[in-house]
Symmetry: C2
Subunit: 462 residues, 2 copies
């Protein structure tokens, strides 16, 4: 694999243009208006796997969007790597905050990315990181150095809970049999300091609806005499955190693992500047659960955030109305050992219990997933660490991420194998936000690093 750097340099332009073509298709899985685009993206990924050298590639039908499956089996006795990624993306709104159209990729230099970055929805999450694996695979095929078997499973519903993937995995355990699962859908500390994500938070996502009067009312004639569902909803949501920003749902913390002082000290070693963090977000001060640092709050602690709220008149000007209904989308990030379905139940029970008699409340679970921790003493992690070390010349640091890839816990349950999260994105890449981008350095470094993982993982398996 000595010539990987050279191969990447020689094919750099093509690698970028192929990704840009993929980013032009608005595969927003959360919005049915984009259904055809999601399908088109699946087909584009399928074609790219065929071109790269898979023997078998298929669009596997599911209850939802199809899963792109591809494989190259060179020797039944060699280990098998299962690559997972997703071809769907987050909605682009608020569209007006994008400096360039989210589905018309442009390359611009930034302070963090002096070599340029591709700006587009999905550039980093996850089309860019998923496509690194396709190009790394292409390299190993073209240069006859694929050391093991490989299977690809690229889904189209990650941003909406991976329902169909769960359905698919449960029904295809033999087809998906593997020795390790490889995912690039997370980030690293910086381009100078690589890191490997060893922990993910779980997720419970619900939508709540509060109904007051059976119709919108004139706030003058009824104001003060009937329960205003928006006022009530704000009271109910506000009560979900106490003055220390602890979540007040009974039983919510029962299964949360308390890390030892040593572990927390270990985490604290990670280079981090609260000032730089606050400056980057233009906030006067951080905010969160009493007794924990920023990096603990967003990784080892569970959280509850309102992701969306709406009700009443939100148009131009003023309307003196008491709305009949108010709504909120609320998600809870969970830590290992918290069961997302149990937490969803606890939330539902509690939220319904705190509603005043004057309103009706409906809690609709959206989706969820379990948290996950990767053992850093396993060969999967060891192989990944060596690969990063070779390509970056620096030892990677193991990091717990606050994000969730619900499917990872399901992989372990159904496929009985561990997942290695080799992420090459940066926190500043603005995934899920306007102006999402992915560094060209990161994209190419990923393509360089992945084949090394295959090499070391195969050797360590001998």
């Amino acid at each position: 694999m000595e010539n990987i750097k050279q191969y990447v340099q020689e094919n750099k332009e093509r690698f970028l243009n192929e990704l840009i073509d993929l980013l032009k298709i608005p595969s927003v899985s959360a919005d049915s208006a984009y259904a055809q685009d999601v399908i088109d993206t699946a087909n584009a990924v399928k074609a790219s796997l065929e071109k790269a050298g898979c023997d078998v590639v298929e669009l596997c039908e599911t209850p939802g969007y199809p899963i792109v499956y591809g494989e190259k089996i060179i020797d039944k006795n060699l280990p098998t790597v299962l690559v997972y990624g997703h071809y769907d993306v987050q909605p682009a709104d608020p569209i007006e905050l994008w400096d360039s159209p989210p589905f018309e990729p442009v390359i611009k230099k930034t302070d963090v990315h002096p070599e340029g970055a591709i700006f587009a929805r999905g550039a980093c999450d996850d089309k860019g990181q998923m496509y690194m694996h396709v190009k790394a695979f292409e390299y190993m095929i073209k240069n006859n150095c694929l050391p093991c078997n490989v299977k690809f499973m690229i889904e189209g519903e990650e941003e909406v809970g991976s329902k169909s993937l769960g359905w698919f995995v449960e029904r295809n355990q033999d087809k998906l049999a593997n020795d390790v699962i490889l995912i690039s859908d997370t980030g690293m500390i910086s381009n100078q300091q690589p890191s490997i994500t060893t922990g993910l938070r779980g997720l419970s996502y619900v939508e709540v609806e509060v109904t007051g009067p059976n119709r919108d009312l004139h706030s003058g004639l009824y104001g003060g005499a009937v329960a205003n569902p928006i006022n009530i909803l704000t009271k109910m949501i506000a009560s979900l955190h106490d003055e220390n920003n602890h979540i007040t749902i009974p039983g919510f913390y029962d299964k949360v693992e308390e890390l030892s002082t040593e572990e927390r000290a270990q985490m604290a070693k990670r280079p981090f500047s609260q000032d730089a963090y606050n400056k980057a977000l233009d906030i006067a001060t951080e905010y969160g659960e009493t007794g924990y640092t920023t990096n603990e709050r967003n990784s080892i602690r569970p959280t509850l955030d309102v992701n969306g709220i709406w009700g009443g008149y939100t148009g131009e000007g003023a309307k003196t109305v008491i709305a009949s209904k108010a709504y909120a989308k609320i998600s809870m990030r969970l830590v290992p050992n918290q069961d997302w379905e149990e937490i969803t139940e606890l939330f539902k029970k509690h939220f319904e219990s705190i509603a005043p008699k004057a309103v009706k409340v409906k809690v609709s679970p959206h989706h969820g997933g379990q948290g996950y921790v990767t053992p850093i003493d396993g060969i999967g992690y060891q192989a990944a660490a060596k690969a990063y070390h070779d390509s970056f010349g620096v030892e990677p640091i193991p990091v717990r991420s606050g994000g969730s890839i619900p499917i990872v816990a399901l992989f372990e349950k159904e496929l009985k194998s561990k997942t290695i999260m080799m992420g090459f994105g940066l926190d500043s890449d603005a995934i899920h936000s306007p102006n999402e981008h992915y560094g060209i350095f990161n994209y190419l470094k990923g393509i360089e690093t992945i084949p090394l993982f295959y090499k070391y993982f195969t050797e360590m398996n001998k």
Copy 2:
């Protein structure tokens, strides 16, 4: 005026069709998309006043929408009635809850309106009630029984705070000189029990904006570590009421008049069924300030209601985002003696003071107006009471309304004359709501009653 009933019967169809034509124009003042329709409505009103017999009719330019002014001066020595009304309407949304298009009027029978009601936005508030005055005036001209001078002032910004009307009135005190102001923009208890509105609440309407991070963030990577502006906004709004639903803004109640036990006992005489009220709104129980009845809560007590709230992802499906901004439209209904500008200041100061350091808060006053009380021993009220008694055969009851017509207090200040609120709508007419309607009985009864007010008011002035 013996033949008024006959005249109304003979012209009933035409009266209805003329109003229906007016209701077809979507004069939504809050939404600039309807600007031309608002202007078209002003012209339609102008034409109707010319046709009815005004000597002078003009569209008076203002900084906003024009004011339709018309007059018929028969004798400088006779008293002058100034009729006020508005030709703009509330926005129609939520449009999907209308049984028929809001600007395609239809006549349907209801339990409350066995003779039929016109369903359309503005049917009752205020096109229908305003147009009664045009038709009553037409009757008095055609039958040579106009007993005094009359001036019409019909504005197009009542639903957005009457800014331009204030500007106009301050500059045209001579032109608008009058002995009494007559408005039909309120309701009455029922078609069997007429009532006259003797009190109005003031209004302070503000919009608030809470800004957290400078961009939308991934709720997994940042959740729990930065202030979520939606969570913060809910906490701030929730804190505006205490456990007794008293408003917590310091100084808010300082100038609120406490009614005597006698006055409250008088009010309590008004026929009212809490069960029927709750049933009509499909609510399990009423809700409001401890220590006051429903009719006190919505008339003699000030209130604070969120009229709209929005932030984050509100589309289909799920988006795990922490929004950069969250917004709410909040209105406070005020009682006599509370100064709306002072209350707006108190709100602004308090709301800014309760914001945690981790967010930025902006409070933008929208508009407002003072409360008002009509003396029931004045000849204006007496003349109105006699008019209702003649046409309904029942003595009207004086009632304090929870609604606001901010301009009424300004009339008293600038024009030094009292306002009589002869409203013919019903609470069940769903003004400001989907399926707004106005009873044909009420429309025609209004046309019958108004000339009697002119008659008695002129006589009592002698």
